[in-house]
Symmetry: C2
Subunit: 438 residues, 2 copies
C-alpha cells in the first residue's frame, strides 16, 4: 500500500487498520514516507478524527518504534509522573527524590522548555555540573543507585515521536487529543512503568486552557495507560497562575530544595501541596500505601526526616552535579542579577493572571526558549508574590523580575503588569486540585 | 503571519482572506513554505473546504505566480479548449486547426499522459520531428503564422501549480473541485483568452466518474472563467467508452488526420462529433457565429474544403514536423507492430466498458505512463471496434491491440477482455453530449 492510499482512507473519514498505522509509523522511521506525506496524514487525522482503536494502534506503533526500558532486575515498583506543562511547574524535582525515598523507583525521562513553559532538564542544568544526557546504561545504573534518575529522551526512545512532533509543530497539528496522547504515552510507556500519575494543567498558563479540554485529555491519557496495563491516574490541577513562588530555572531549583529541606515559604506552598498530592497518589498506584491520608503522611514524614533531601543529594552526586547545593541553595541566586520589583498601580484584589503572557515575558528575558534551538539563561526569572484572591494596595509588590539589567527587562515588566488583572470586589482563590480522573 | 498560523485557520474550518492565500502562494513560489507545510494546508483545504472567495483568490494568486501571454497584437479572438482527460480523447488535434481555419487564434498549452489517460503532447510527438517545447517567443510566432500553436507548459506559466500538483499527487489531495479548478484555470487564464470551452468527461474512463461530480466541476470551472471575464462554457461528454476508434499516440494522430481529410470511419465518428460540438461552441463564444447550427456548418465546410487540414500542415511545418504526414497518414502505423485481435467469447450486446482498466492496459504495453517520468511507445495502442449497444456474436472482434509482441501483450489483452461486459438483452447506447453548462 502506497502512502497516498493510506492518506486517502483518512482523508475521506475512514478508519485506519492497525497494519496501516504500522505502515505509516514504519514509513516515518525508515523515511520511506516523505515529510509532506506524513504531514498530510497528520492533518487528515486532525480534521477527520481517530477512534480509540486507531489511537491505541498509533501509541503501540510509536512505542515499538524504539526501545523499551527493561527494569526487571529492579524489584521495587516503578512509577513516574508526567505534567502537561505550565509556568513555575517544578514538581518533578520534588516528587522524584521524595517518591524514591518511599521505596518506589522513578525512571524519569524529561524534556526542555519551549515558549511560555519551562522544562525539567533546563532546571536541572542550573545545578553546577549536573548531567542530563545519560546513556541507557548510565540511566539504569543511576536508578539502581539512587532510586531515581532524570534525563533527556535518548535517540532510541520512541524515535517516531521526535519526527512527528517536529512536523506537527510546523504544521499546526499539535492540539489534537489522540495525537497528544500518542506523543506522551509512547514515551512514558517506554519507561517500563508499573504506575503513572498525570498532572493535567488547566487555566491561562496551561496547554489545555479550558477545564473540559483538560478533562478530555486526562481521560484519554488514563484510558491509554490502563489499556497498556499501567496503573494510571490523572490530577487536573490549576494553572491559572504560576505554581508556587518562582518561575525560572535556578530559582525553581532553589524553591524545590527549600521544600525538600522543609523550609517552605507561604508563596511556595502550592508547589509543595501539588507535589504531595501527586507523590501520595504514586504510592497508592504502586500499592505502597492503601489509603490516601497515610500515603500523604508517609511523604510528609520523608521530607521532615530529611530522607527525601538525601535522595536528591545522592542523585546530584550520581549525575555529576555539586551536591553541596542541597546544603546551601542560596548559591543558586546569581550575583550578577538585578531585581526589578513590579508594583500594583491601584488597590484591589488579584482577579486573574494571564499566565501564558507571564511565561512568555520570562522567556523573553532569557529564562525560556522562543525557538527550540535557543539557549537558556538559568539565572533569570520571576518571583510571584501575589496570588489570585489576595488583597493588594497601590504600590504593593506583585512580583519581582530577576534580570540581567533593568532596562532590557522593562518591556517584560510591562507585559507582566498587564498580565495581572485586579478587581475591586473580593475574589475567591481557585482550587489547586480540580479533579481526579481514573 | 507564519505558515502554521495560516494552516491553523483552515484546520479549524475558518475562511482564509485573499492576503493569506497570497502569502501561501508566495511561500510556495519562493520556497519559504516547506513542502510539509504546503501539504498540510492542502489537506486542511480538502477536508474543511474552500468557499467561492477563497477559490477565486487561489486561482488569482496561482495565475499571477507566473507570466500571462500578451496576444494584444493578434486582432482575431483567442480561444482554447480544455478537456479533463480520457481514453482516446484526441479532439485537440482536430479542434485547434479547425477553429484556427475559422479565424480564431488557438494558443493551446497542453499536457502529457499519466495513468489511464493520454496527453496531447505525447500524441503530437508521434509526428516525426514535431517540437512541443516552444519558448514563449516561438509560441507567439507560431500562433501568428498558423493561427494556433500546441506546446507544453513553460516554467514561467503558473509555476505554483506545478509544485502544488506534484504534492497533491503524492498526498491524495487531487480530487477536490476547488483545487482542480485552481490548477486548470490558473494555466488556462495565463493564455490570455477571450473564450474557453471545457470538455468535462463523465463515465468509467473519466477523472470524475459520476455525472453529478462532473456537473459540479463544470459549474465551478465555468463560474471561475466568467469571474475572470473569459467567455466560458462547458460540455459534459460521455467517457463510458473510448472516444472514437483509436487509443494510443500515433494511432490517434492517424485518426485525427483522417477526420481532417474528411475520411471518417464509422468507429471514429464520435471523435468527430465531439470535436464539431466543441469547435462550434468556440465560434459562438468568440462571436464568430451567432447560432449553433451555422457554427457547425462553418466547421463542417472547413473540413470538407480541406482548409482545416491545411492549417494542420502549416502548423506541423512551423513546429518542425514532417508535413507530408497530412498526405500519407498511413505512415503513422509502424511496421514493427503486431496486431492482436480481442474477440468476444459469447454473443450479446455490449453493455459497459471499464474504460479506466482499458486505458491502464494500453499504458501497460507502453502506450502511456505508469509513473510521471516513464517514456512512451508512440506506436502501440488499441482500436476500439465495438461500441456500447452494439450486437456481437461469439468470435467477433471487440478490438485490436497494437503491440510490440503478442506474448508481452497477453496480460493487457486479458484485462481488456474483462473490461468489456456483454449483456443478453438490448442495450441503449449512451448520449455523447450529456449536458451544456453556462
Amino acid at each position: 500500500m502506497r502512502p497516498q492510499d493510506i492518506i486517502c482512507i483518512k482523508r475521506d473519514g475512514g478508519e485506519l487498520l492497525p497494519e496501516q498505522i504500522k505502515l505509516f509509523i514504519d514509513g516515518v522511521c525508515d523515511s520511506s514516507w516523505a515529510d509532506y506525506q506524513i504531514s498530510a496524514l497528520l492533518m487528515a487525522m486532525f480534521t477527520r478524527g481517530l477512534n480509540e482503536q486507531e489511537e491505541e494502534a498509533l501509541v503501540r506503533e510509536m512505542l515499538h518504534s524504539g526501545k523499551i526500558f527493561d527494569f526487571s532486575k529492579i524489584t521495587v515498583p516503578k512509577a513516574d509522573k508526567h505534567s502537561t506543562g505550565g509556568v513555575g511547574d517544578k514538581t518533578s524535582l520534588i516528587i522524584a527524590p521524595l517518591v524514591a525515598s518511599c521505596g518506589v523507583a522513578v525512571p524519569m525521562i524529561s524534556g526542555r522548555g519551549l515558549g511560555h513553559t519551562g522544562g525539567t532538564l533546563d532546571k536541572l542544568e542550573s545545578i553546577p555540573g549536573y548531567n542530563v544526557k545519560l546513556s541507557k546504561e548510565d540511566f539504569h545504573s543511576v536508578v539502581d543507585k539512587c532510586g531515581f534518575a532524570m534525563a533527556g529522551q535518548t535517540a532510541d526512545i520512541a524515535p517516531a515521536d521526535r519526527k512527528l512532533y517536529a512536523l506537527r509543530d510546523a504544521t499546526a497539528t499539535i492540539p489534537y487529543i489522540p495525537l497528544i496522547v500518542a506523543s506522551i504515552m509512547s514515551k512514558k510507556l517506554a519507561e517500563g512503568l508499573d504506575a503513572l500519575i498525570l498532572d493535567v494543567k488547566t487555566g491561562s498558563g496551561a496547554f489545555m486552557k479550558s477545564f473540559d479540554d483538560a478533562v478530555a485529555l486526562a481521560e484519554a491519557l488514563v484510558a491509554t495507560g490502563k489499556r497498556f496495563e499501567v496503573q494510571t491516574q490523572a490530577v487536573i490541577s490549576d494553572m491559572s497562575q504560576p505554581l508556587g513562588k518562582y518561575v525560572g530555572n535556578a530559582l525553581e531549583v532553589y524553591e524545590c530544595i527549600k521544600i525538600l529541606r522543609n523550609e517552605i515559604e507561604v508563596a511556595a506552598r502550592p508547589a509543595w501541596e501539588l507535589s504531595l498530592e501527586l507523590s501520595a497518589r504514586m504510592l497508592l498506584l504502586t500499592g505502597k500505601s492503601d489509603d490516601f491520608e497515610s500515603a500523604k503522611q508517609i511523604c510528609t514524614s520523608r521530607v521532615e526526616s530529611g530522607e527525601a533531601l538525601e535522595r536528591l543529594r545522592l542523585n546530584v552526586q550520581c549525575q555529576g552535579g555539586d551536591p553541596s547545593i542541597c546544603d546551601d541553595p542560596e548559591r543558586l541566586f546569581s550575583k550578577e542579577i538585578v531585581e526589578l520589583p513590579i508594583r500594583a498601580e491601584t488597590p484591589g484584589f488579584l482577579n486573574s493572571v494571564d499566565t501564558q503572557v507571564l511565561g512568555n515575558a520570562v522567556s523573553s528575558i532569557g529564562g525560556g526558549r522562543i525557538k527550540a534551538d535557543d539557549g537558556v539563561d538559568h539565572a533569570v526569572g520571576f518571583s510571584s508574590e501575589l496570588k489570585i484572591g489576595d488583597a493588594v494596595k497601590a504600590g504593593d509588590t506583585i512580583g519581582v523580575l530577576y534580570c540581567r539589567n533593568a532596562d532590557d527587562a522593562a518591556n517584560a515588566a510591562s507585559k507582566i503588569r498587564e498580565a495581572y488583572v485586579l478587581s475591586e470586589s473580593v475574589v475567591t482563590p481557585p482550587h489547586l486540585i480540580r479533579r481526579i480522573i481514573g
